[in-house]
């Protein structure tokens, strides 16, 4: 079993009267891809944002290699984040945005420009971001997440808005990174895609981590052969449990 890269214990977050996360326990194993799945509003994005420090949890711990990260800043140099919505300052060019990230992160990281090459972004990076199509912006977004060869990649709906070819390129990249020992947390609404990428699954429901384990384990306990069916079964059971 790989060692835990991220260990989340008893994580809770409340927005007004809504418990977005309640006592979430979750382990992300080093060198593996974990899919965060669950219905809308289950707390997936809040969970991701807590790991990034964008959201400040009310209670609980998040450890990265055994070290607390809540309230810290420097640990984010080890993380590459691809947000769900790719909206950038419209008068900057992609190249300027990348230069900014380099400035902010400082020297040291080995640059990985593979996605810029594969997506053929060189020319697009010289134009202001406002003239780029949504798909191209999403490619820039992906290229920036992988650029600094981070140990941990956090991808929120990475293939949303990408054409099939670009989406395949991105998925190949994710698998290649996994092969190189990188850890990945990924959310998606497309279960087939996650099945291709992930070995582990965290199933979120109403702010709780209802299941955390391997993909095979999830299929076994739900007696289903695909992730989609397995998650659907979990959701039905979950709702039944919630209603009871």
């Amino acid at each position: 079993m790989n060692k835990a890269m991220i260990q989340i214990t008893d994580l809770s977050k409340r927005f007004g009267a809504l418990d977005v996360l309640s006592s979430v326990d979750l382990v992300v194993r080093s060198g593996r891809v974990i899919a965060i799945v669950g219905p809308n509003g289950a707390g997936k994005t809040t969970l991701i944002k807590s790991v990034l420090g964008l959201t400040r949890p009310d209670a609980g711990h998040i450890l990265l290699d055994g070290v607390n990260v809540i309230g810290g800043d420097a640990y984010r140099s080890r993380i590459g984040y691809m947000p769900q919505i790719a909206r950038f300052p419209e008068n900057l060019t992609g190249a300027e945005l990348i230069a900014m990230l380099k400035d902010l992160r400082g020297p040291g990281a080995q640059l990985d420009t593979e996605l810029i090459d594969c997506f053929a972004l060189e020319e697009a990076l010289q134009k202001p971001l406002r003239v780029l199509s949504g798909g191209t912006r999403q490619k820039v977004n992906a290229a920036m997440a992988f650029l600094f060869s981070p140990e941990l990649l956090i991808l929120d709906e990475p293939t949303a808005g990408l054409d099939p070819l670009s989406s395949s390129i991105l998925k190949d990249k994710i698998l290649a990174e996994r092969g190189a020992g990188k850890t990945v947390m990924v959310t998606s609404h497309i279960m087939n895609e996650l099945e291709e990428l992930a070995e582990d699954v965290a199933f979120m429901l109403e702010g709780r981590a209802a299941f955390v384990g391997t993909l095979d384990e999830l299929k076994r306990i739900t007696s289903q052969i695909t992730l989609e069916r397995a998650v659907a079964t979990m959701m039905t059971r979950g709702w039944v449990k919630a209603a009871a």
Partner: protein, 262 residues
């Protein structure tokens, strides 16, 4: 180079290319040029510009500032997902918004004077006018940044911004006059001074009044202030009050920003 400078560098580069800001500079240039042509006297033109600056600079700074920062929401998230601390990021965002506005205002006001070949005296008073424009920009972008991080809802935020501007520009003077009229039997000089300090636009107006000497058109509060503090003490108090008006919203904004959930 720390995070403030890094964020400032790129955000200012984005903002300065904004069509709205370019329009803002052109607006000032046209108004200034028009006043210079019609009055034929740089000092008279500047007196008219005082009202324009006191009215327009706060409005543009607070409205453009809030709208810009609401649009930058995802950009701010991208910044905070990097190894940066929030206090410095806030400083970078504030300055990256303020400097382009300051630049456009200064360019728009001074280029026409340079083209019309103003003399040394005119430049002296122009510098006072530019200082007022710069300080008011700093104050109102500080308030705009605070509003944008404090209010989640952008419509409410924009409404608050316009309300703050209306309050300080229009409503406040009415309120002061009302108080003075109702309580005219009492000695109100000190109360008037306090009321003036509570409004950065009033402070800037008095600051300009002291520089241009005269012009009772600039409001009752200004007249009282001139009588009390014609010299160094007055300037010192003005500087202290304006420093407060910049640092208080910034300090408050940093606090909010540090605890904010994105």
């Amino acid at each position: 180079m720390n995070t403030i400078m890094k964020v400032l560098k790129y955000q200012a580069r984005d903002a300065v290319r904004s069509r709205w800001l370019i329009a803002y500079a052109i607006f000032f240039a046209l108004v200034t040029d028009g006043l210079l042509r019609f009055s034929g006297d740089p000092v008279k033109a500047q007196l008219s510009l005082v009202s324009v600056v006191l009215f327009v600079v706060p409005l543009i700074a607070i409205v453009f500032g809030t709208v810009y920062l609401y649009n930058a929401r995802e950009f701010i998230e991208l910044l905070l997902a990097q190894p940066v601390n929030r206090r410095q990021t806030y400083g970078g965002l504030y300055l990256g918004l303020t400097l382009p506005l300051v630049l456009e205002c200064v360019v728009g006001l001074s280029v026409p004077f340079a083209l019309h070949g103003a003399d040394a005296a005119a430049w002296g008073t122009l510098i006072a006018l530019l200082t007022a424009g710069i300080v008011l920009t700093c104050v109102f972008t500080a308030i705009a940044t605070l509003i944008a991080v404090r209010c989640e809802d952008r419509l409410r935020g924009l409404g608050t911004a316009i309300a703050v501007w209306l309050l300080l520009t229009v409503v406040y003077d009415g309120f002061v006059l009302f108080v003075l009229a109702v309580l005219s039997d009492y000695p109100l000089e000190h109360a008037t001074l306090v009321m003036m300090m509570a409004n950065p636009i009033d402070i800037a107006r008095v600051g300009l009044l002291l520089r241009f000497d005269g012009a009772a058109m600039m409001g009752y509060t200004g007249a009282v202030f001139l009588k009390f503090f014609g010299g160094t003490v007055g300037i010192a108090i003005i500087v202290a009050a304006l420093t407060f008006w910049v640092s208080a919203p910034v300090a408050l904004g940093v606090r909010v920003f540090q605890r904010k959930d994105f």
